[in-house]
Point group: C2
Chain length 340, copies 2
DNA sequence: GTTAGCACTCAGACCATTTGAGTGCTAATA
DNA sequence: TATTAGCACTCAAATGGTCTGAGTGCTAAC
């Protein structure tokens, strides 16, 4: 059987109608809804064909039809190659000048959630390897040193180190110089035993302190799970099909935990560019089997990127979501470009 | 009428039973549950009295009784002055040495949520006024300066500032010296126009930069909303009485927003010490009218403290919750003491 | 190829009935 | 006088039957 023009129109009508109402849609509805001027009986025949081809399903005999994952997929694919969206204006109100990365991201997540009425999640950019760009120790008071570590991409980490004796200005300068000489441009793997040994040798009696500092660096680089922010997770209550306590609970847990979702977003073959759509069972994540997840990538610099995700019901308004995401992506790209 | 020994016992039995089951409890149950050896009829008489006194209510005629807010209140008050809890061992697994404040707090929130099966929230310590302890500018690369600001209580803030020209080492030293001389020990209110003017005068041509820096400081200090972490928010699905979508939704929104809850925790008359219990309508917060909220305070140093909160159903296991909180409070106090 | 008509299906609403847990009251008992 | 047994009563929730309406598939007519 062939998926001709008319079948397409009907399928599209079914999907759009279902997106609006959330109820299975019947033949009579479609016969009125479209401008094809076909009777419900004809529609029934076509629908029966569409069902056979797997694009729609009946939740039970004598109910209307709802789109299957395959049907959504077709619809989404059609959308994707379709005309460029007209952009509805969404702006991050940021005085970007002194705004920090995490604030920007939090706001972005919120903007998306509010605009789409779905749950959103955004991850901080993931650097392929965290190279040390710059290191600095400063005496804060008699008993503590502040270690500031700047990684490539201007991620700033800091940590207090407790010391017993006050260090002279001179010693600090020396230590700083040494640390930078040895460690600049390295990532965690490259700080191996031999580097560490050399540093200790040259430290002139401060080898204990050096160890402490290396410890701090190690935890800073290592524990770097990708940070993620969510927003609008309670939006899922707006969709009856997700709004039973078992489903809502697993979904919200996933959103709270973030970790799984992060993994999903950084999926293999994510192509680093463009927009990815997981419909229902297509998702490798158990918790989102009843949802659709749309992810997008924003870029900070070559090879450094983060992800935005939207989680909503299968009957998500894909058109709007994809539009909003594209929009926000370029917005973010802008901000980070200006930021340079 | 008087609340004699026997009535107390019965009330306690009703509450405890209701905590376990979540169902209204009837006279027959109590007559078997307690070791008073009274018939259900007698219990009925007593219950009728208790109802008249306002400690229990009937959800509808011919249902069992459930505790009223007043009843819970009595019960909680009894608990509070009761014997010291035996501590069940909960430990934060932390290698506290290099662990940062926010990590400790996140873990604490999690530990509580897991231990109690309620939702938990913890706020970072709130300083009455944020005084600047130490400031430092560092050149990171040709176009950016890193400004590190350490506030009293060792809260570290940092921000990148974009500059057009590279500064000499000497200029930086001078600027740093000046910044510290002028700003050390001040809080935001105290950085007024006259201080700013003086600084600009002495800056020797870097007044634009100084303005930028002051901007950064201002946002760092000002935007200091209390940070808060939540955990286990999905636990609320475990309690049928909260598990309808309207209630769950408002509650979860409150947990996601955090702001309202933070306000609740830093309530007027919070006495800075000890444990506070809000039962149902006692809470000034609309979103938690159907819940109970228990808050506790942990201390970092004189006058600097944060809050832990537990949110659960009215029929919360107050005994356990209060125990756990006391426990964790001392644990946290320990960690922060060691940390000094 | 399209349409009208008809029999059939099934979820959900509606209603009556039953069940069981719980109550209040009264009279008997210790 | 305090306690208890007994009984009539209430009401939520469960059960089960019936009806309704939206929807289908199939067939015959256009």
């Amino acid at each position: 059987m062939e998926l001709d023009e008319r079948k397409m129109t009907i399928l599209r009508a079914i999907i759009q109608n279902y997106l609006e109402t959330g109820e299975p849609v019947g033949s009579r509805t479609i016969s009125k809804y479209t401008d094809l001027n076909l009777s419900s009986a004809t529609i029934r025949n076509e629908m029966s064909d569409l069902e056979e081809m797997g694009y729609i399903v009946q939740p039970h005999t004598s109910a209307g039809r709802i789109p299957s994952d395959k049907g959504y997929r077709l619809y989404v694919d059609m959308l994707m190659q379709d005309k460029q969206m007209e952009m509805d204006n969404l702006k991050l109100e940021l005085n970007a000048k002194s705004e920090k990365l995490d604030n920007i991201l939090k706001k972005a997540a919120k903007v998306i959630a509010v605009n789409t009425n779905y749950a959103s999640m955004i991850t901080a950019p993931r650097y392929r390897k965290h190279r040390i760009k710059f290191l600095q120790l400063t005496q804060v008071d008699t008993e503590s040193l502040l270690a500031v570590i700047i990684l490539e991409g201007n991620i700033v980490k800091n940590n207090l180190i407790h010391v017993n004796e006050e260090l002279t200005q001179e010693t600090l300068l020396k230590l700083n110089l040494m640390l930078n000489t040895f460690l600049q441009g390295l990532d965690l793997q490259e700080i191996n035993a031999s580097v560490m040994q050399k540093m200790r040798n040259e430290s002139g009696g401060y080898s204990a302190l050096i160890s402490d500092i290396l410890d701090v660096i190690a935890t800073s680089l290592e524990s770097e799970e990708v940070e993620a922010y969510t927003s609008g997770s309670t939006n899922i209550f707006k969709y009856p099909e997700l709004n039973d306590s078992a489903k809502a609970s697993t979904l919200l847990s996933a959103l709270e935990e973030k970790k799984q979702l992060t993994e999903l977003m950084y999926q293999e073959g994510d192509s680093e560019r463009g927009i990815q759509v997981y419909i229902g069972d297509e998702s490798p994540l158990e918790a989102t089997k009843d949802c659709s997840v749309v992810t997008a990538t924003y870029h900070i610099e070559e090879g450094v990127y983060g992800k935005i995700g939207i989680i909503g019901p299968r009957r998500m308004d894909y058109e709007k979501v994809v539009g909003t995401l594209k929009n926000l992506m370029s917005e973010l790209d802008q901000i980070f470009k200006k930021d340079k």
